[in-house]
């Protein structure tokens, strides 16, 4: 078992609880012992970085410090946006001694632990797409997906900027495809799998966001996907919850089920409905469930 500090972020704590539940249930099957962080806050989602940049840095340093305090060297995330925000702050803190010293002074004076720079932030996807995690995943996914056609949707902030993320080629990623195959599904290829779902501006510029959102769903549908899978709960929320708005706007009912990565692997690993929580999805996952007869 590899022990990692687990930062679930806002969405998996709130509107995407199903992601947290499935991840916690799946973790031991893929060799991960999760040490959940409780005394942590939102990473700022890019918004605090823009509104109050220095506060963003302090909040993320505090998350990293609490992760380090658990004694592990890995902070596991389950959200693209958390991953980028934490990695960006970590990069800044590790590369600037004076900055780290000032931030630590502030952390300690409010009663938080100081951060020494000893944590690496890794998304759950990366932990199971390569190395030992991948081998364990292949064993765990014994129930398979019966050749279900799955469209991988990466989203942005797990690929770009690659200078900060760097796990795989940002233009030709393969991690999700590898996982879909290992689970016994058939990956469906389509160009918009690395594009934006529109979520960051879905409140402020809904029309622009919807024009972005329709691309992956429409292309995945045309490519014959039974469902889509994403490693990001924000992408999940726009793909799943905002699909009804696309129907209203375009008259097209895609009825495309959207799975969280942990759910997809979870299905293949034999998790039951109490651990998958498909009822919490807006677009029904029933066609997938029926096809697999789980």
């Amino acid at each position: 078992m590899r022990t990692v500090a687990y930062y679930k972020g806002c969405l998996a704590s709130l509107s995407a609880k199903e992601l947290d539940i499935a991840t916690q249930a799946l973790a031991p099957k893929v060799g991960l012992e999760l040490s959940e962080l409780e005394a942590v806050t939102c990473c700022g989602a890019g918004d605090i970085h823009e509104a109050e940049p220095d506060y963003y840095l302090h909040l993320n340093a505090r998350i990293l410090a609490y992760a380090e305090e658990t004694g592990t060297d890995t902070l596991m995330t389950v959200c693209n946006v958390c991953t980028l925000n934490l990695r960006q702050a970590n990069h800044a803190l590790k590369g600037d001694e004076a900055l780290l010293e000032r931030v630590n002074r502030n952390l300690v004076s409010v009663g938080a632990p100081a951060y020494s720079g000893g944590v690496e932030v890794l998304h759950f996807l990366w932990l199971v797409a390569a190395g030992e995690g991948y081998e364990l995943l292949k064993e765990a996914a014994h129930k398979g997906l019966k050749g279900l056609r799955i469209a991988p949707f990466y989203g942005c902030q797990i690929l770009r900027p690659s200078k900060l993320l760097g796990f795989e080629d940002p233009d030709r990623p393969e991690s999700l495809e590898r996982i879909i195959e290992a689970c016994g599904g058939e990956p469906v290829d389509y160009p918009a799998k690395i594009k934006c779902c529109g979520f960051p501006i879905i409140q402020a510029r809904e029309d622009v966001a919807l024009a972005e959102l329709i691309q992956p769903i429409e292309q995945a549908k045309e490519a014959g996907a039974d469902a889509m899978v994403t490693p990001c709960p924000l992408c999940h929320l726009s793909l799943d919850a905002w699909q009804s708005k696309l129907r209203k706007q375009t008259g097209k009912d895609f009825a495309m089920p959207i799975l969280h990565l942990s759910q997809l692997i979870g299905v293949a690993a034999g998790l039951d409905e109490s651990e998958l929580k498909f009822k919490r999805h807006v677009v029904s996952v029933k066609p997938v469930v029926e096809q697999l007869a789980i």
Partner: protein
């Protein structure tokens, strides 16, 4: 070496597109631009593309290779040719195609002009003494000043694809270059203008611009700096700015995002009420967490106290934006065990690592031989 390429040809008059394959014999150090020159010289004189300096400074030869915008003169072909992959070359995206690989840059220049891309020093007579600016003051906008206006960042901008009127990464980065200039006297007016519709808050943070820029401008970071500067000046009435502010309020009060309140706080109560039907559809699936009792993080008092300390430190606006790369430095790409390196279609590290030919006598003479 043999270099094979497929090129999307386009004839605007006839409106015809065709994908043609070419193969040239090029020296090992050849760039994509060198290979296009060989195609034009030896195989097809009708091929159209732009070029000028051939050394990554004029910004003329932006085009797409396998769907990703690159400067043709910066892109070495050795590893691609060795891998046996035949890349597809096409015109940049988000701009109208004139012929083959040549795009109409007018929409690009229109947006650059729209950000007033010159210094507004606040005087017309420069006076007798020079206006000396320190290196430290120029460092702030060093990265934005590197822009060669090639359009690679615009090519894959997801917001611009969805909204062609979006000012876009190149124009906004140019805007930051002047907002951050210590000599500029139109800072606030600029920030107000850039904060309007199709400006700062229309960026969807897809980071394609950052990924594509061949000069390290990091346009998305420049847009974040503009957002931070605008909010420091209190120019925060746009929905995007209100959205951002609610995250700060959430972090200070409960630690976690107060998700359900985000909509009325961003859009206002009246507009939110119009969305009640949509909200109900989400509520049924637990997608609208009840705001009461609030989901409060443990030791949230620390996050509150940190806010006051940060305010006291006073490192606000663009100064606080995390720079992925500091000015005048480049990150080195590691080739970790789990990295993309081994799995890239072009072999280890090919998406990041430039090809440097080995300077042995043998390779020099052999490549010269192929030239002849």
């Amino acid at each position: 070496m043999k270099v094979a390429m497929k090129i999307w040809r386009y004839d605007a008059v006839a409106g015809e597109r065709a994908l043609r394959e070419y193969e040239v014999d090029a020296p090992e150090e050849a760039t994509l631009l060198d290979c296009l020159d060989l195609v034009k010289d030896q195989l097809d004189g009708t091929l159209a593309y732009r070029k000028s300096c051939r050394m990554m400074i004029c910004g003329s030869c932006g085009m797409r290779m396998d769907g990703a915008a690159v400067l043709a003169c910066k892109t070495r072909m050795y590893e691609i040719a060795q891998s046996g992959h035949v890349p597809v070359i096409s015109a940049m995206g988000n701009l109208p195609i004139v012929k083959d690989l040549v795009v109409d840059m007018e929409p690009f220049w229109r947006k650059i002009r729209a950000v007033t891309p010159w210094l507004e020093p606040g005087y017309s007579d420069p006076g007798e003494r020079e206006n000396v600016v320190s290196q430290a003051e120029m460092d702030v906008i060093h990265k934005e000043s590197l822009c060669i206006m090639c359009g690679c960042c615009v090519s894959e901008c997801n917001s611009m694809e969805a909204d062609p009127d979006f000012l876009g990464p190149a124009a906004l980065a140019k805007g930051m270059r002047f907002v951050g200039d210590a000599r500029d006297q139109a800072r606030v007016e600029r920030l107000q203008a850039y904060s309007e519709a199709h400006g700062i808050w229309d960026c969807t943070r897809c980071y394609f611009c950052q990924e594509r820029c061949p000069k390290g401008v990091d346009p998305r970071d420049a847009i974040a700096k503009l957002g931070a500067e605008a909010m420091r000046e209190g120019i925060d009435s746009d929905l995007g700015a209100r959205h951002a502010k609610w995250f700060v309020t959430s972090a200070k009060t409960t630690g976690w995002l107060r998700e359900t309140e985000l909509v009325p706080k961003t859009q206002g109560v009246v507009k939110s009420l119009k969305e009640i039907g949509f909200a109900m559809s989400l509520l049924r699936h637990g997608k609208v967490p009840p705001p009461i009792p609030p989901h409060v993080a443990k030791h949230v008092d620390e996050a509150r106290a940190l806010y006051d300390l940060v305010k006291h430190d006073g490192r606000e606006g663009a100064d606080g934006i995390v720079q992925i790369e500091k000015p005048l430095s480049r990150l080195e790409h590691g080739e970790g065990e789990d990295g993309a390196a081994e799995r890239g279609p072009y072999g280890p590290g090919s998406f990041a690592k430039p090809y440097l030919p080995e300077l042995s006598d043998e390779s020099e003479s052999s490549s010269e031989g192929r030239h002849a």
